[in-house]
Amino acid sequence: MRGRVFDVSHGTTKDGPGIRTTVFLKGCPLHCLWCHNPESQRREAEMLFFPDKCTACLRCVSLCPNGVQTFAEGRHIFRRPSCSLCGKCLSAGCGALKIAGKMRDVEEVLDEVLKDKPFYDRTGGGMTLSGGEPLFQKDFCLALLKAGKEAGLHTAVETAGAVKKEALAEILPYTDLFLYDYKETDPERHRLYTGWDNRTILENLCFLDGEGKPLILRCPIVPGYNDRPDHFAGIARTANRLKSLIRVEIEPYHALGEGKYAALGRERDDFRLPTGEYDPARWCREIGSQTDAEVTLA
């Protein structure tokens, strides 16, 4: 069983209990305006080219068999459509070129994850599947989780919930914890910001809660978009309804992903960089004051 993985990150501490390894699966049905991992959105592999890291050494020009890497008037031109993603130019090792998304075997990924076993044993950590939306590659996701459970790992899945309930039901027995995204309370805005309405998402959340699965609610807060009192109240209301909730985690927007849109050769969606008040501690307090649930900064 193979799936497309765009990163495996060891020693993470934000994605569930203990010290963990997070596997990032490529592809996502949503496209949130503020996405800071745009390379995770498409299912296919993609080339990232960072012009500001290019020192014009021309190595890639000679390495590419397809004439994709070219120079005109001293400017590096990357002809994206002709790129076959063969990866040959990567051996230039320059840092300006990166391919996101590699087909990998379940066993291979699991071996990589298991390298850190002593740390999981000590800390109650394990493996977290993230994305993209991991369930976008449901079979691969399922196979990885099964293999992880067989190897005795604690497993967590970070999902945006925009998937079929059946898919969730299928991975349920092999998942110890869900990190569930809650992005926007107002359905209209939800559609506007993410491309999806939030009905299925909320239904799925109720479903997981009903199954008694431990949940962490993760709320990206983007100033100027969803830092509104009604959304904060919505988060608190949802938290109050959930029986299996461990806590609410606030993920303040950061601009670290902005450069990647250009690197992927994409136009940025109509997204103004937040200019409003940036006060994560206040957001936490405001939400926290309306619920008994623990509210923390991720």
């Binding site: 020693g11 950061h254 936490c284």
Partner: protein, 714 residues
């Protein structure tokens, strides 16, 4: 990964928004509340110290010049030993005695840096030892003198040493007595609290100028005076304190039981003591934790006091090392984590089990091994031994270059045969090239004379011999070995590309490296290798294990001299990994790029995340290297402040057999430096949205954004 020495501190004040989960700061804050007065007083002393530091240094330098003048004026003559005694006498009589406002631990130390004139006679020892403070405190100056007096007047060297011991002990006494007098003088015009303070100093100093200390204050004060004299005699760094929380404990307990002392006062004195050490030289290591005399966990209130004092002050001295045991207590680990959270790379964590074993394997008696202290940065040593932990040094890769050059056209059936041949070559290189150099170095050390140190080590006052005459119970010759990471990866390159894939030959690799890898195709092949050391891959892990075992064995098999224990360690000073002119190495490291530090993997993009790197370095056979197997980690501030995370890294690493771990923070300045000089900072790792990434590989925009985050905390 980043080394501690060049990482500046992360501001300690920033506390995450959800204070409730930030457990290290909660711990530290509870402490701060309880001892608010002590902290406030110490903060004032610290501020005063910092503001007058430059001026003091200048004044001290001038004062020392006068000591020299006096010394030279007298045209002091005689052998080195007599000169050394006379010099300490001049120092004791001449060096100004200063008691500053609010000081409770007194005594001015000056560490020679910036002196315009060299000493008028050869330097003394090279520092890097731990006095036996337990004995010094128990005996007091009188007791030490009594021992010296008991030495026979044989008309020979013992008699000369006897006289020297007595001269320096008398000088020491004179120096302390001058403090008693000065405090007495100042007290004549003092009032209230100040009067009490000065009278205390006067009484304590006049008592310990002769007698063994009876109270905690006196003991602490005598430790500091002893340190001043050791540093004055040594003119070298890393004069270390050893297990201060153990040897001060009886005094503390007695005072507390008698109601002479309360916890806050003890803590305050410790803060004062720590501030005082900032007048001294580099790497005055304090060792905390570890076992008591019965072999049980010996952590105690003083252990915690020292850790929290150090965490709070966050000053350049002293250094702190903690002995972590499988049964280390929560308070101890929490206090250590509170210090780690400050971001200065302190404390250094040591795996007690491995260090004790390493000393035993070197021939140190069980009880002394178990009672070890840390010298300087990483070096395990019995206390009261003539440790010389930085006596010899070499770069491992030199031996490999030598081997390659000799074997360019040799044919090897497979990698095993190649490795075997390298090992034989190393043995001969070690014996014929390195050993003579070490012998020379030892002879140089042995030509020096350190009578005061002799009074503070085990065995010299008993044997009548100086440390340099093998008078101490233990004489060590520390060997610092650089570059295991580079060697493992270079061998791995040969294994993969020459013997397995057969894509090149040893000669081609050698030539390519000699040309600094202008051969791009070959360079890319090397750089493209997966599974290099630090990725926690069995092949390289096993190679690292095998090589370290082999090196340890070779060192052990080659005796330097009877009575001298050669104690190897896998590191050299940080500066030495920045050797600009060190030629390119087979692992694809170009000239000018960093060499690998300690047991750390090479600083290449192939280095994986901290956890994997640690699991690789844990395979190094630390028990063969008492002088240290340092592993350096740098973490983003958020992880650094997460006590449980830090503790998990440490304890898991030690479960797996790691020797030492230093954890420091990534600070804005480092990131800025990395943006300016990416090549020198390939080892700086940062986390973005949970992904660990090499900082220099990020786009400019991202780097800037991260820099902002490091600066502003968001």
């Amino acid at each position: 990964m980043k080394t501690v020495e060049n990482v500046k501190t992360v501001p300690a004040g920033a506390i995450t928004a959800d204070g409730s989960r930030d457990f290290t700061s909660t711990f530290a804050r509870a402490f701060t509340r309880a001892f608010a007065r002590a902290f406030a007083l110490a903060d004032r002393l610290k501020a005063a110290h910092l503001s007058s530091f430059a001026e003091d240094r200048k004044a001290h330098a001038e004062a020392l010049e006068r000591v020299y003048e006096k010394f030279t004026e007298e045209r002091a003559e005689g052998d080195l030993l007599a000169l050394r005694c006379r010099y300490l006498e001049c120092f004791a009589e001449q060096f100004p005695v200063v008691i500053k406002e609010g000081e409770t631990v007194v005594g001015t130390c000056y560490h020679y840096a910036g002196l315009r004139r060299p000493l008028p006679f050869p330097l003394s020892n090279m520092g890097h030892f731990i006095a036996n403070f337990e004995t010094v405190l128990r005996e007091g100056i009188a007791g030490l003198k009594k021992k010296a007096l008991a030495l026979p007047c044989d008309g020979g060297s013992v008699e000369a040493n006897r006289a020297a011991f007595l001269r320096v002990l008398n000088a020491f006494s004179t120096y302390i007595r001058r403090y008693a007098e000065e405090a007495g003088r100042l007290s004549l015009t003092a009032e209230g609290e100040d009067l009490a303070r000065l009278r205390g100093i006067r009484d304590d100093c006049s008592f310990i100028a002769e007698n063994p200390p009876q109270t905690f204050r006196q003991a602490l004060q005598l430790v500091w005076f002893t340190q001043i004299f050791l540093e004055t005699e040594a003119k070298a760094s890393a004069v270390s304190f050893g297990r201060i929380d153990r040897y001060l404990l009886p005094y503390y307990e007695r005072d507390i039981a008698a109601g002479r002392l309360d916890e806050e006062e003890a803590f305050f004195r410790i803060l004062c003591f720590c501030i005082k050490t900032c007048e001294g030289d580099e790497s005055q290591m304090i060792t905390l934790g570890g076992q008591d005399e019965e072999g049980n966990n010996g952590e105690n209130p003083l252990t915690i006091f020292f850790l929290l004092a150090g965490a709070h002050l966050n000053m350049r001295q002293p250094s702190f090392g903690v002995r972590v045991r499988p049964d280390s207590g929560k308070d101890f680990l929490d206090a250590a984590a509170a210090m780690t959270a400050v971001g200065a790379g302190m404390p250094a964590y040591f795996n007690d089990t491995v260090l004790v074993k390493s000393l035993k394997l070197c021939g140190v008696a069980d009880a002394d091994a178990e009672n070890y202290g840390i010298v300087g940065c990483y070096e395990a040593s019995p206390q009261g031994a003539f440790s010389n932990t930085v006596a010899g040094a070499f770069n491992l890769y030199d031996s490999f270059s030598y081997f390659l050059a000799e074997n360019l056209d040799a044919k090897f059936a497979d990698f095993d045969a190649f490795l075997e041949a390298y090992k034989r070559s190393f043995e001969s290189y070690y014996r014929h090239t390195l050993m003579p150099a070490f012998s020379n170095k030892l002879a140089k050390i042995m030509a020096l004379r350190s009578p005061f140190l002799g009074c503070c080590l085990d065995g010299c006052l008993e044997s009548g011999k100086l440390p340099e005459q093998l008078g101490s119970r233990y004489t060590l010759f520390g060997l610092n070995i650089l570059g295991i990471g580079i060697l493992v990866d270079s061998l791995y390159t040969v294994k993969k590309l020459v013997f397995e894939r057969k894509e090149t030959t040893v000669e081609e690799l050698f030539t390519a490296a000699a040309q600094n890898f202008t051969d791009q195709a070959l360079f890319e092949k090397i750089k493209g290798l997966d599974g290099t050391y630090g990725s926690h891959t069995e092949e390289t892990d096993a190679l690292a294990e095998e090589l370290s075992a082999f090196i340890g064995k070779t060192v052990k098999e080659n005796k330097l001299r009877d009575g001298v224990l050669v104690t190897p360690g896998l590191f050299w000073f940080t500066a030495d990994i920045h050797q600009k002119n060190y030629p390119a190495t087979l692992n694809g490291r170009r000239q000018g790029e960093l060499l690998s530090y300690g047991v750390n993997p090479c600083a290449t993009p192939h280095t994986n995340t901290p956890t994997l790197a640690l699991l690789s370095t844990a395979r190094i056979r630390g028990e063969l290297f008492p002088t240290g197997c340092p592993a350096m980690l740098s973490l983003p501030p958020r992880d650094l402040k997460a006590g449980p995370f830090v503790q998990a890294l440490v304890t898991t690493y030690f479960d797996c057999g790691g020797f030492h771990l230093a954890i420091s923070g990534v600070d804005p300045e480092t990131l800025e430096a990395a943006m300016r000089e990416p090549d020198a900072h390939r080892d700086v790792m940062v986390k973005i949205s949970g992904l660990s990434t090499q900082f220099v590989s990020l786009s400019k925009a991202m780097q800037e954004s991260l820099l902002r985050r490091a600066r502003d905390g968001v």
